[in-house]
């Protein structure tokens, strides 16, 4: 499987098909004498920023520690939970309960949900 093309930057869906971000990064394990294998997919702003520049990644990580809504950004999903489906990447988790939607939940509760008609 050509990972860069088949997985990275694809739409990430949870087990109900809810959009929960994109595959922002892949974590690989290198062992001597064995083929490198993917252990996690990463989602989140820290991974995105680090792809632009490592220093920007560290800066966003510091911001996330201070004001973030998620405890351990970047959020990692074990490769074992990835279900191969055609065009998108589906993972066997409940998006609502994951840090991937931490900001979404916070904004829903504290900002957008308070506007009349939401």
């Amino acid at each position: 499987m050509n990972l860069a093309r088949d997985c990275l930057d694809k739409q990430l869906l949870d087990r109900h098909g809810r959009k929960m971000g994109r595959v922002d990064g892949l974590v690989m394990e290198l062992e001597e004498g064995a083929q490198p294998r993917i252990t996690f997919v990463e989602v989140g702003a820290v991974t995105q920023a680090a792809r632009l520049h490592p220093r920007l990644g560290r800066f966003v990580a510091a911001l996330a520690r201070r004001w973030g809504r998620a405890p351990n950004d970047p959020y990692r999903i074990p490769w074992a939970q990835v279900v191969p489906t055609g065009d998108d990447v589906t993972v066997g988790v409940e998006a609502e309960a994951t840090p991937a939607l931490a900001w979404e939940r916070w904004l829903r509760a504290h900002v957008v949900g308070r506007i009349p008609g939401a």
């Binding site: 930057d9 739409q11 971000g21 994109r22 632009l52 957008v112 939401a118």
Partner: protein, 405 residues
């Protein structure tokens, strides 16, 4: 039968989407300063946008992806981030220009200065997006946009020399004010060929669940809709050439726009200009605002449908809310709306390759479009016109800012 209805609706929508403050202003300026000489620029921009919109629909129908979605996936987060930042800055200026256009239309009718209208206009626009569904926004506002047909009626009432109008379809070198001529040509191209229009069209195709069976419908909508839009732009140019040029009105202040239709329609002229500009700009402003939110949501993998309640995707709703506020701020700063319009159109032309080049790669990638990839004609027309617009923009923008030429 369903497809016939969708076809008619699509054409009306794309005409409404085509005409906005940029195309009206640049066409009026061209007519006021150079008579029929710049008709070719509108036709060239129109031709390019027919091809691009058709391709945007074809990409969505055959890959089930919007353009930002496919660009992020194929070219990675790094490229997407650069595209997003550049496009967002240009789109924000264009949004400011469109909101300014609505405010100016209100000034024409009420006499109250345009800057006072910025906040109420932004609030009404936000309410339309907050409460409206995608089809309500797309179809309702676009159907009202048909009022811009009054420019075509005006062109016929004023009896132009049609042979000379047709002669303008062939590019000729300017005899006076050379730098101005090329700068207006660039602004016209930037006003016609707008990436946000293609992006929005692809989002609409996904919202309406297009598949390969829509490829024919798509081709007709793109061709007829964009041609009709270009014809209205040419009508604006013709009317300006007949009304402004002989009187020496140079279209350097937006207030001058109010008199565009007075010769043709008398006292109704100002009201028709206001209605046309106001509605066309409202349609464009709604489209730009939504597309900014779509582009961010699609690139970051959020839910993005406008056919659900705001709470269903809080980040998406918050994004367009912030975009509306920023757009209103641009108007409140009091930047001259006419200068803002013309410059943001030229800037659009200068940044075209950033969005169009990766898009062309997608249109030639079997993985996305399968057997419905671009032919040589589609590729050539787009590459040549985008290349021309880019080169002209890079040469003329500095000349316009620093003088000379």
């Amino acid at each position: 039968m369903k497809k016939v209805f969708e076809l008619a609706l699509g054409i009306v929508t794309s005409v409404g989407g085509f005409l906005e403050i940029g195309s009206i202003t640049t066409a009026a300026q061209a007519g006021a300063l150079f008579g029929y000489q710049l008709v070719w620029a509108i036709m060239l921009g129109g031709l390019c946008v027919i091809f691009l919109v058709e391709q945007a629909g074809r990409l969505a129908a055959s890959s089930r992806r919007t353009i930002p979605d496919a660009i992020r996936e194929r070219f990675g987060f790094e490229y997407y981030a650069v595209l997003l930042v550049v496009m967002a800055l240009v789109m924000l200026l264009v949004l400011g220009a469109e909101l300014g256009g609505i405010c100016i239309a209100l000034e024409f009718v009420t006499g109250i200065g345009y800057r006072w209208w910025a906040v109420p206009v932004a609030l009404v626009m936000w309410l339309i997006i907050w409460k409206g569904t995608f089809s309500f926004i797309e179809q309702g506002v676009s159907a009202l946009g048909l009022v811009t047909v009054c420019f075509i009626v005006a062109a016929f009432i004023l009896h132009p020399d049609w042979a000379r109008v047709a002669a303008g379809a062939l590019p000729t070198l300017p005899t006076h004010e050379r730098a101005r001529y090329w700068f207006i040509a660039v602004s016209i191209l930037g006003a016609s060929i707008t990436p946000y229009l293609m992006f929005f069209y692809s989002s609409g195709a996904i919202e309406d669940k297009w598949d390969e069976s829509y490829l024919g419908v798509n081709r007709i909508i793109a061709t007829v809709g964009m041609s009709f839009g270009s014809v209205i732009s040419i009508a604006v140019l013709v009317v300006a050439a007949l009304v402004f040029l002989p009187r020496g009105i140079r279209m350097e202040h937006y207030q001058e726009l109010a008199r565009l239709l007075t010769d043709a329609f008398g006292v109704w002229g100002v009201r028709l200009v206001a209605a046309s500009v106001g509605i066309a700009c409202l349609g464009a402003a709604l489209e730009i605002t939504l597309e900014m939110a779509y582009m961010i949501a699609q690139g970051f993998g959020w839910n993005w449908s406008k056919n659900q309640r705001p709470i269903a995707e809080a980040r998406f709703s918050l994004t367009y809310t912030i975009v509306v506020i920023l757009g209103a701020l641009v108007v409140v700063t009091g930047i001259d709306p006419l200068k803002l319009t013309v410059f943001s159109m030229a800037l659009t032309a200068a940044t075209l390759p950033l969005a169009i080049v990766p898009f062309l790669f997608l249109m030639n990638d079997e993985h996305y479009v399968g057997e419905h990839g671009n032919g040589w004609l589609s590729n050539t027309v787009v590459v040549v016109i985008i290349g021309l617009a880019f080169v002209l923009a890079v040469v003329t923008i500095p000349l316009e800012i620093f003088g000379g030429g």
